[in-house]
Amino acid sequence: MSAAIDWDSPDLVALRAAMLRFARISLRDAAAAEDMVQEALLAAMQAAAGFDGRSTLKTWMFSILRHKIVDHIRKSSREVSRCDLVADADADEDDAHLDAIFGKKTPWSNAHWTDEDRPAEWPEPESALEQKQFWDVFDACVHRLPENLSRVFLMRELLDLDTPEICTELGISTNNCWVILHRARTRLRGCLEHNWFDEDAPQC
């Protein structure tokens, strides 16, 4: 079965949009994101005859795209000074954001949530995954992370690399990686709550 793929079909248009979203969130470079999606689509086109179903095609295209993004990030992370990444992430103790939401950890304070920053209940979070606007907020929140946090977060969560691999790639310690991920997750959680889940959240 050859020529089984109709490149103008609504399915493929949606597929391309989803690929673009993945590439844009993972990279801070819209032009590079476009290029990678284009390349992944071309590669898929060349081998299109080998596909018997849409789900296989989608999985395959996203895996090509993921590899392209990982390569791109590897190349660019070699150009980044490691000092920039490691700066200020050595210890869990001095992070202004964590200090603000938990209060500073001292022998006389136990660093619990401040009333203002205690996580609220998120009503029906799963339904957010089906809303286009949610993804725009998600994208914006990821991109609002400071560079040193977002790089590690993206490699870990979006690209699904494991921590040892990320540490080797960026030349940082495992502990440093964990500290960075904790900070990134905490900020991202706060940003999503503020910009998406807050409105309907019950007061507590």
């Binding site: 949606a14 597929l15 949009a17 989803a18 690929m19 979203r21 993945f22 969130i25 989608k58 999985t59 295209m61 996203f62 993921r66 869990d92 964590l98 938990f102 950890k105 136990n110 660093a111 619990h112 949530w113 205690r118 996580p119 609220a120 209940e121 998120w122 979070p125 799963e126 957010a128 995954l129 286009k132 993804w135 998600f138 969560e157 979006l158 690209l159 699904d160 921590t163 990686c177 964990w178 991920l181 904790h182 997750r185 905490t186 991202l188 959680r189 999503l192 709550e193 507590c204």
Partner: protein
Amino acid sequence: MLTCRDITRLQSERNERELTARERMELRMHTLVCRGCRRYGKQIAFIRRAARAVREGDTE
């Protein structure tokens, strides 16, 4: 006695390494009584699912 700050760090690290038996127990005890940390744990798990949806193309 672990603080909320420590507990959220464990909740994050649970995704990166196996927690010790002691850490798991501290986590369980703490989240039993702390609504904030209970929600934090659920919400960062949700963020992982969202990231996975992006990676697998389930966003359109």
